[in-house]
């Protein structure tokens, strides 16, 4: 986890940066004049925590989207490292190649083997390119499916980490059937016989997210978003301009709070004050306990019951109006 001065600050986080700078100044003064400034420094450090809270309490939906993309935010591999042991990464879809934007493998959660799968973003410019910014190609979704089937065969629960700005919209992706790959995953995940837990840890953009996002329980971390399209693309299509992303973010109701309120996700996972990027250990510990609790509950159900409940859950999603049945409704 980057520490100041290597930390990156978003626009609305600038007041925190200012406080850090003040601390630095105090430290330098203390050094020079040999005066004990620890009280003042402590006060400023408390102020930083206060400020972090104040900022995250008052975020607009668009700022929440920005926070979900924070460059210091932990990504899938980080959570795997902190939550699980004995992770063995497995590669390839057995057809085309290994997609670096989608990772997965066996790991243990408190000694019990599970399959973990997730989109992976890069932590620096080079890695971001390697990971294709977390945008998987069809072979990524097919790798994920191969691993899910492997888990099913050996009766291991599946835990997925969703963090993608969308499935990759490329020429080769279309040639290899991006739509089909996502569709197949959704279809197979609906009927997977093992417990499936989904965690949205960053961006949950549309079909690209749902391609590894169908399960018994969907957990959404506090500062993430999940909806049918990114606010930028929504703005470009519906408003015919890239400038309405803030409004689009509001209209789409894409925050964890909204999604939980709508009953489209099952639980909000709290993050450390100010966001997961302030404390990877704490963020992981909170998430770990949520996963453990849900997994314990899911394991008590038998496989068929679980699949029935899963399908029922998704079938209830949607709002429509039903007019009085007329003659043509003679079913």
């Amino acid at each position: 986890m980057p520490q100041y001065p290597n930390r990156q600050f978003l626009d609305f986080e600038q007041p925190i940066k200012t406080l850090y700078e003040e601390i630095e100044k105090l430290k330098q003064t203390a050094e020079k004049s040999k005066i004990d400034m620890s009280d003042s420094i402590q006060k400023l450090q408390d102020a930083i925590v206060e400020k972090r809270k104040e900022i995250t309490d008052n975020l607009t939906p668009w700022q929440r989207v920005q926070l979900s993309r924070h460059p210091d935010r932990p990504y899938t591999l980080k959570y795997i490292e902190k939550i699980f042991t004995n992770f063995v990464e497995l590669h390839g879809d057995r057809n085309v190649r290994d997609d670096k934007a989608m990772i997965g493998g066996f790991a243990q959660l408190n000694g019990e083997t599970v399959m973990v799968i997730g989109q992976q973003k890069g932590i620096n410019t080079k890695a971001r390119q390697l990971r294709n910014f977390g945008m998987a190609n069809p072979e990524g979704y097919r790798k994920a499916l191969r691993l899910m089937r492997l888990a099913e065969k050996f009766n291991k629960p599946v835990i997925t980490f969703v963090d993608t700005p969308g499935a990759y919209p490329g020429l080769e992706a279309e040639e290899r059937g991006q739509g089909e790959a996502i569709a197949r995953n959704i279809y197979e995940m609906v009927r997977l016989k093992v417990p499936v837990i989904i965690v949205v840890i960053g961006e949950g953009a549309s079909g690209g997210a749902l391609g590894i996002g169908v399960g018994d329980k969907t957990l959404m971390m506090e500062n993430t978003w999940y909806t049918v399209i990114s606010p930028e693309s929504c703005s470009s299509i519906l408003w015919r301009s890239w400038d309405k992303k803030e409004i689009a973010a509001e209209q789409l109701r894409l925050t964890a709070k909204d999604m939980h309120g709508f009953g489209l996700v099952d639980e909000i996972v709290p993050e450390p004050i100010g966001g997961a990027h302030w404390d990877y250990d704490e963020a992981s510990a909170i998430l770990k306990s949520c996963i453990e609790r849900n997994l314990t509950e899911l394991k008590e159900l038998d496989a068929q019951k679980r699949v029935e409940m899963r399908i029922d859950k998704y079938c209830k999603m949607g709002h429509w109006e039903e007019l009085m049945a007329d003659a043509s409704m003679a079913v």
Partner: protein
Amino acid sequence: MKKEREEDFENNLTGEEDNHQEENSKRSWFKRRKKGILTSTADKKETPEGLWNKCPNCNHITTTKELKEELFVCVKCNYHHRIGSEEYYEIIFDNSEYTELFDNIRSIDFLHFTDLKPYQKRLDEIHSKTDLKDSMRVAVGEINGEKMVVACMDFEFIGGSLGSVMGEKFSRAVDYCIEHKLPYLVISKSGGARMMESAFSLMQLAKTSGKLSQLSDAKLPYISMLTDPTFGGISASFGMLGDLNIAEPGALIGFAGPRVIKETIKKDLPEGFQRSEFLLEHGFLDFIVDRKQLKDKLHQLILLFRN
């Protein structure tokens, strides 16, 4: 011409009206200003001679009446004009007779979504302008004497977008198939998920896939027919999940739209990219079927699945 069609495609996706009407009317009075079939069937029968139609592909000019007799396929270049559910039902069902199911389900603006205009206003406008109630209709009828449930999209209703209503109608159609042991055909023509229903529309991908899982367990055939255009959430769910995936010739089918891909890769797209023939070549379709053979082909398939 291609560019105009792309623009028109996007207009339809967002439910926008063509706003270059004046310009166009000056340019040519042959030009179809509005795509799709806007008049109700009843009106269409009284279409007076002399109403012309120009093929967007080869510019062949024909009367609307002749075009209808040719099942909206250009006699010169075999271009398949975009048609709506009513036209498909008339083409495939015996004597054009069918029973519409679940037509009492209506979209609501649950989120009070407002872009350039409120979602509710969009719905009201389309309801007042057309006979359509939503972007998908479900019907049961006979195809050469064989019963089949056919769900069909209407592109002119907010770009045939997938929202809660389509998801629910799709689900009930599956239940109906299971209850009556009938095969299921879905004719897709859609820009994808309906953004105005936000995540609710996204979840319809999971909902419809779950229902297909039940249809599959009941061992009933599901045929997915893709027509021009089929994109996004449809191709990323039930559109690509048919026991058989079939398509009309020349239909534009894909996950991401051509414009988005072009912007991403910053290169021109190859000729024929994302057309039915391209998908067939890459292994995602079982076959391409001409509209004029559709009915007999469906009948043949029903018998092959059953006997």
